[in-house]
C-alpha cells in the first residue's frame, strides 16, 4: 500500500500535507498505518478501544518512537527511521487537542491560549493580543480571566482548540475531542468544531469511536482495528459497504 502512495501522483501534485508511514511495536501490540492527507482536509480515524488510534496521534506528535517508517508534514521530515531524523515534539509545529483537554490548571484561559506564542518567544503584549483574538473568534472572550476549573467542558474544548490553533500548526491532532462532553452539549460543540476545522488550512486528524463525529467532521475516514487499517473511504462508503463486522455494527447502531 505504501508503495502505491509513495509513487509519483499521476496528475497535479496535491497540496502538501501529511505523509505518514507508521510502524510501531509495543510488547505484543503492533501498529501499521499509512496516512496521506492533503492540507485543508480532515481525516477521521475510527476504531474500537485499543485499536491503536491514540498511538497514531502520539507517534505523529513525537511522543512515541517509530520502529520503522516516516512522518512528513508539508514536505518536511519530522521522523524517519531510515535516515535517523527525529524532531522533538516541541519543534514539530503540531497542535494536539487531548480527550480531557489538559488545559494548564494554574493558568487563566487567556494565558493558556497565549502559552504557545510565549513559549516561542513572542513578546507578552503581542501574545496576549493574539490570544484575545482567538478567544473572540471562538466566542469565549468572557472567559479570558477564568481558570480551567471554572469553565464547562464545552468551553474547555473550545479553549483547547484555540490554544492549539494559536500556534499556527501544520497538523492538528484531536484525540476523542467530544468524548468528555455531556450528551446535551455534544451536538452543539461538534457542529462548532466542524466549522472551525473547515477554516483550518492545515491537515486535521481526528480520532474517535463515534460515527456521528466522523459524519460531521470527516472528509475521509480510515477504520483502524487491532493496529491495522480495515477500511478507507468516506462515511457514505462505510455505510454502503461495511468491510468488517465492527463497521457494520457501527453503521447499524447509527441508524
Amino acid at each position: 500500500m505504501s508503495g502505491i502512495e509513495n509513487a509519483p501522483p499521476p496528475f497535479a501534485a496535491p497540496s502538501p500535507g501529511l505523509d505518514a508511514v507508521i510502524r510501531v511495536r509495543r510488547q505484543s501490540f503492533s501498529l501499521g498505518v499509512d496516512l496521506m492527507v492533503d492540507a485543508g482536509r480532515v481525516l477521521v480515524i475510527l476504531g474500537p478501544n485499543g485499536a491503536g488510534k491514540s498511538t497514531v496521534l502520539q507517534t505523529i506528535a513525537g511522543a512515541v518512537d517509530l520502529e520503522a517508517g516516516h512522518i512528513k508534514v508539508a514536505g518536511r521530515v519530522l521522523d524517519d527511521r531510515s535516515s535517523h531524523v527525529r524532531e522533538p515534539t516541541s519543534t514539530r509545529h503540531i497542535g494536539f487537542v487531548f480527550q480531557d483537554y489538559l488545559l494548564f490548571p494554574h493558568l487563566t484561559v487567556e494565558h493558556n491560549v497565549a502559552f504557545g506564542l510565549r513559549a516561542s518567544g513572542m513578546p507578552r503584549a503581542e501574545a496576549h493580543e493574539r490570544a484575545a483574538t482567538w478567544l473572540d473568534r471562538f466566542g469565549i472572550s468572557a472567559l479570558a480571566h477564568r481558570r480551567p476549573s471554572e469553565i464547562s467542558g464545552g468551553q474547555a474544548q473550545r479553549v483547547a482548540l484555540a490554544r492549539a490553533l494559536a500556534t499556527d500548526p501544520g497538523v492538528l491532532l484531536l484525540d476523542e475531542p467530544l468524548a468528555a462532553l455531556d450528551v446535551e452539549v455534544r451536538d452543539d460543540v461538534r457542529a462548532d468544531l466542524a466549522v472551525h476545522l473547515r477554516e483550518f488550512p492545515g491537515v486535521t486528524v481526528v480520532v474517535t469511536h463515534s460515527l456521528a463525529d466522523a459524519t460531521a467532521l470527516a472528509d475521509e475516514v480510515i477504520v483502524l482495528e487491532a493496529g491495522r487499517v480495515t477500511q478507507r473511504g468516506t462515511v457514505a462508503d462505510l455505510q454502503r459497504e461495511p468491510a468488517t463486522p465492527y463497521v457494520a455494527r457501527l453503521v447499524r447502531a447509527a441508524d
Binding site: A61, F104, T167
Partner: protein
C-alpha cells in the same frame, strides 16, 4: 444485635485500648509541657539576650538550610523521577543515598560530616590547607548539618508530587512549541508547587529541631552554633523554666507548620 455485630464490637474494644494508650503517649507529654509552662514570665524569658540570640540563630540557619534544600532538592527529585531510564542498580543506589539520612541517627550524621569536612576530613583537610577554611563549629556547619538531615523530606515530598502530577501536561506544552526548560519552569514547577511548599515546610521544621548532628558537627557556642534545641537542653540543667519556655516556642512553630500544611497545602502530606 446479631452475633456478627457482637464480634465486631469486641474487636473494636481490643483495638480501642492500645489506640487510647498510643494517643496518651503522643499527647500527654505535650499537655504536661503546656500545664507546667511559666506562662507569666514567658515573654521575659524569650526576650533574654542569650535565648533571643539562640532563637534568631535557629530561625536564620533553618531558613537558609530550607532554601538550600529547595535549590538542590527539587532538581534531585526531578532527576529521580526521570531515573526510570537508568540501570536498576544506579537507581537503587541513588534512592538509598537520598533516604539514608531519614533512618540514620543524627549523631552518626554529625560524625560522618566531621569525617568529611573536619580539619582532618576527606575534603576538610584540603579546604584547610589550600584555603585556610575550617567548617566545623561555625554557623555554616549548623546549616550543613540541617541540610543533611532535612533534604530527604524535601526530595520525597517533591518526588511524590511529581509522580502524582499528570506528565501529559508536559506533552501538551511541547506540542505548543515549548522547550523542555520552558516547560519545566512554566508548567512542571507550578504544578508541583504545593509539593515543594509542603516539602520546604517539613524541611524547615526538621532543621529547626535538629540536635544530634548539629551538636556533634557544629558544637554549642552561644551566638554562633548554639541553636534553640541545644540551648533548651542546656537550660534544663540550670534553669528549667527557661527550658520549658524554649520548648514551648519550638512546639508553637511546629503546630503553626502543621496547621498551615493541613489547611493550605497538599492533602497527601497530612492526611
Amino acid at each position: 444485635m446479631g452475633p456478627h455485630d457482637r464480634q465486631r464490637r469486641s474487636i473494636a474494644l481490643a483495638l480501642w485500648i492500645p489506640a487510647a494508650i498510643a494517643v496518651g503517649l503522643l499527647v500527654l507529654p505535650l499537655v504536661a509541657l503546656i500545664v507546667r509552662a511559666p506562662w507569666a514570665e514567658l515573654t521575659d524569658i524569650v526576650a533574654r539576650p542569650e535565648i533571643f540570640q539562640a532563637l534568631l540563630l535557629s530561625l536564620g540557619t533553618a531558613s537558609l538550610a530550607t532554601a538550600i534544600c529547595v535549590a538542590l532538592g527539587v532538581p534531585l527529585a526531578v532527576v529521580l523521577t526521570q531515573a526510570a531510564e537508568w540501570p536498576t542498580a544506579a537507581r537503587r543506589a541513588l534512592r538509598t543515598a537520598v533516604t539514608v539520612p531519614l533512618v540514620l541517627p543524627p549523631v552518626v550524621g554529625g560524625v560522618a560530616l566531621l569525617l568529611l569536612l573536619g580539619r582532618r576530613g576527606l575534603i576538610g583537610e584540603f579546604l584547610n590547607e589550600a584555603f585556610g577554611i575550617s567548617i566545623p563549629f561555625t554557623p555554616a556547619a549548623v546549616i550543613i548539618a540541617q541540610v543533611f538531615v532535612s533534604m530527604p523530606f524535601l526530595v520525597l515530598a517533591v518526588e511524590g508530587a511529581l509522580r502524582a502530577s499528570d506528565r501529559r501536561f508536559e506533552l501538551a506544552a511541547a506540542s505548543l512549541g515549548a522547550s523542555p526548560w520552558y516547560t519545566f519552569r512554566r508548567v512542571t514547577l507550578p504544578l508541583i508547587g504545593p509539593g515543594v511548599s509542603a516539602g520546604a515546610l517539613l524541611s524547615f521544621t526538621r532543621s529547626l529541631g535538629e540536635f544530634g548532628a548539629t551538636i556533634t558537627f557544629a558544637g554549642s557556642f552561644p551566638g554562633t552554633t548554639q541553636t534553640l534545641p541545644i540551648s533548651t537542653y542546656l537550660a534544663l540543667q540550670r534553669d528549667p523554666d527557661a527550658a520549658i519556655a524554649l520548648a514551648l516556642v519550638l512546639l508553637a512553630v511546629s503546630v503553626v507548620v502543621l496547621v498551615t500544611l493541613r489547611d493550605r497545602w497538599v492533602p497527601g502530606v497530612t492526611q
